[in-house]
């Protein structure tokens, strides 16, 4: 293994590692713009210049590889490379490079959406000059739409070409290119082929400055006002790791969170903009009971009592409908409560999409089908005939919360029921047909575990406060169970539900939020960092 000396520190590293990677892994900061671990190296921004002993000019550390050299060429008889990232020359060079990058920059941080997470800001503050010597008029170009969701501010762009490489290497759609050259060059898209693929939103994330902006978030808020909460995307069964940025009870944006076992560095636009769905739905925030064509509000005690009464009266002839949109814990508790027939609503599937880089959007647009199947033992495939065979006349439904037309099979099922209890957060068509509605939590309010289609259990964290009188879904189920005298156990929190779940289902044994951590865990026992 090559021995690298960097800023006086001796490091043994794998042959073929770049100086930048070695430095990063050992806590030495080298600033950079164009380098991105998921993209090809171009070495165009020149920000990561370092001094390598024996080389006359400064070298770009992102594209300088450390390898074994023959003994007679080793420095001081033992080092394969000696690098200095802090000396006067490097420090001065960084200042110069930043001055160049900022030549035409409008310095409009007060109105720029990137402010607060901008590498031009950070590095200027850390490594740059306080003043520019450029007296000439700055080059000014109007903003342009590259696609329906992405707008570019050319004046802020430093032409690092991350976005161009992203469309070439990750999405494979190649919409973006660098037009013209030198002083005239700019990022552009062909007029008849705008940047409108389902991964387009990522270019705004990987842009190290405020040039590429998502029209969805532009001028909405300042980044430091937002609460950042790690969570998991719930719009397909891949389960991309995300950061949810919210203020009070409103989500403002989602960004992908790095997880090499799931989504790498990216996420798709279906998930990215999916949260708007919850702004449009009619929320249910109050327990309700049917009164003719409309609903009357109830308090929780009455609602639970009524629900338990109905289930008791049905004499075991109530079926539970679990949901692939709900957490493992909610599905588990419903299974525990019903102890009989379990079914689920028809699945929502669309086309599966796989990109050049392997990034995947699953056909199954529910986040937790694998977990639901693991946890619920047997889910009957042919619910109508099972209902007939067992003379089921009541349903307790964990609603998906997705508004869809019920098909004829379901219309028939619902028509046959004496009573239907729907636990939901949204006034869906299904909820409208219920006798009792129990208000649960919406996807970004829930906490629990979900299992993706590759058997990875992930920690779903609540990012928003609950609304109105709604309660956590596991809590509602626990209250109903208590009223049914089914289970004497009281769960203080969802963590205890996970514990009991692990006792019944060995694959989930020993799980806890603490063990799952930010990156989740594989059910095959393979933990990862």
């Amino acid at each position: 293994m090559p021995l690298l000396k960097i800023d006086g520190k001796e490091i043994e590293i794998k042959s073929g590692t770049t100086v930048l990677q070695a430095a990063e892994a050992n806590g030495i900061e080298i600033p950079y713009y164009c380098y991105h671990p998921a993209l090809e190296i171009v070495g165009s921004c020149r920000m990561c210049l370092v001094q390598v002993e024996g080389m006359p000019k400064l070298q770009v550390s992102c594209n300088t590889f450390v390898g074994d050299v023959p003994p007679e060429r080793k420095v001081d008889g033992k080092y394969d490379m000696v690098v200095d990232t802090q000396n006067d020359l490097v420090v001065q060079e960084r200042k110069n490079i930043l001055e160049f990058l900022l030549l035409n920059h409008p310095l409009d941080c007060p109105v720029c959406d990137q402010a607060g997470e901008c590498y031009l800001q950070d590095y200027s503050f850390k490594f740059g000059n306080a003043h520019s010597r450029f007296d000439e008029a700055k080059r000014v170009r109007p903003n342009e739409y590259l696609g329906s969701q992405i707008v570019i501010n050319h004046n802020r762009c430093i032409l690092c070409s991350r976005c161009v490489r992203f469309t070439q290497e990750i999405s494979g759609t190649s919409e973006l290119f660098v037009e013209a050259r030198g002083y005239n060059s700019k990022i552009a898209a062909l007029e008849d082929k705008p940047l409108d693929n389902l991964l387009a939103g990522n270019v705004a994330d990987i842009c190290p400055v405020g040039a590429l902006l998502s029209t969805d978030y532009i001028h909405k808020n300042r980044i430091w006002n937002l609460k950042e909460q790690p969570s998991v995307c719930q719009d397909c069964s891949v389960g991309c790791n995300v950061d949810v940025f919210s203020q009070r009870d409103q989500i403002l944006r989602l960004t992908p969170r790095e997880n090499h076992d799931v989504n790498g560095y990216f996420m798709c636009d279906i998930g990215r903009y999916g949260f708007h769905r919850f702004e449009e739905i009619e929320r249910v925030t109050q327990p309700m009971v049917r009164n003719g064509e409309s609903f009357d509000a109830l308090n929780w005690d009455k609602a639970i009592e009524k629900t338990a009464d109905l289930i008791k009266k049905s004499n075991g002839k109530t079926a539970g409908i679990v949901s692939p949109f709900h957490t493992n814990e909610s599905n588990f508790l419903l299974g525990l409560m019903m102890n009989g027939v379990l079914g689920s609503l028809p699945p929502i599937t669309k086309k599966e999409i796989t990109y050049q880089s392997g990034f995947r959007i699953s056909a199954d647009r529910s986040p937790n089908r694998r977990g639901m199947n693991n946890i619920c033992g047997e889910i009957v495939a042919d619910l109508p005939s099972e209902i007939k065979a067992q003379a089921i006349h009541g349903l307790y439904i964990l609603d998906d919360g997705v508004d869809r037309e019920s098909d004829d099979v379901w219309k028939e099922i619902l028509a046959k029921m004496d009573f239907v209890v729907v636990q939901t957060y949204a006034m869906t068509a299904l909820a409208r047909s219920a006798n009792i509605i129990l208000p649960g939590l919406a996807p970004f309010e829930r906490e629990g575990t979900i299992t993706n289609d590759r058997d990875r259990v992930q920690w779903l964290r609540s990012s928003l406060p609950k609304k109105g009188e709604s309660r956590a879904d596991w809590e509602i189920l626990m209250m109903v169970m208590k009223a049914l005298d089914k289970e004497e156990q009281t769960f203080a929190d969802v963590g205890q539900v996970i514990k009991v779940m692990g006792e019944k289902f060995p694959a989930y044994k020993g799980l806890s939020f603490f063990r799952l951590g930010p990156h989740g865990m594989s059910l095959n026992g393979k933990a990862s960092g």
Binding site: S174, F177, E191, K193
Partner: protein, 163 residues
């Protein structure tokens, strides 16, 4: 690149053998991009959208990648040009020896500014950087020929010989 709204015929190379020969010179298909662009320009006079799409298909890449290349080089034209292209050198020696007067002469006589083409497509006027013939400044390149040591009178006579 703006399309002019007219539905144009899809571009194809008129000399497929030459295309084959160009490809045979390179181990990598993409390397043939530039020679193919030159070939297309000599056939069409400029690089149209249709040319870009055709070449992108031939070299197996996206049209944006070909456009990236086209826009980089100033000698590849994305707009139709006149029958004769006048390129007046603007660099130091030529400038000192009256290149501006040559440009002004064309502008006055034929009513085209640098970058423009005459309505009858006779001339396109361009200002270009050093043509590498400083000793005989001012230099004007018309199509592929150099014309050196020009005065306004000589230049005027020269232009008359191009139809």
């Amino acid at each position: 690149m703006k399309s002019n709204g007219k539905l144009k015929q899809r571009f194809t190379f008129s000399d497929p053998e030459r295309v084959e020969q160009i490809f045979s010179q390179y181990s990598d298909k993409k390397s043939a991009t530039l020679p193919l662009l030159h070939l297309a320009q000599s056939q069409e006079g400029y690089i149209s959208n249709s040319v870009i799409e055709n070449i992108a298909d031939l070299v197996d890449c996206h049209s944006a990648v070909v456009m990236d290349c086209v826009s980089f080089y100033t000698m590849l034209y994305t707009k139709p040009q006149g029958r004769h292209i006048i390129q007046v050198c603007q660099t130091l020696s030529c400038s000192l020896n009256g290149a501006d007067a040559l440009v002004d002469h064309v502008t006055d006589k034929y009513e085209i500014k640098p970058g423009e083409t005459m309505a009858n497509d006779r001339f396109t006027l361009m200002k270009v950087e050093c043509l590498g013939s400083c000793g005989t400044a001012p230099v004007v390149q018309i199509n592929k020929e150099y014309h050196e040591g020009l005065s306004t009178q000589k230049f005027d006579k020269l232009l008359e010989s191009f139809e």
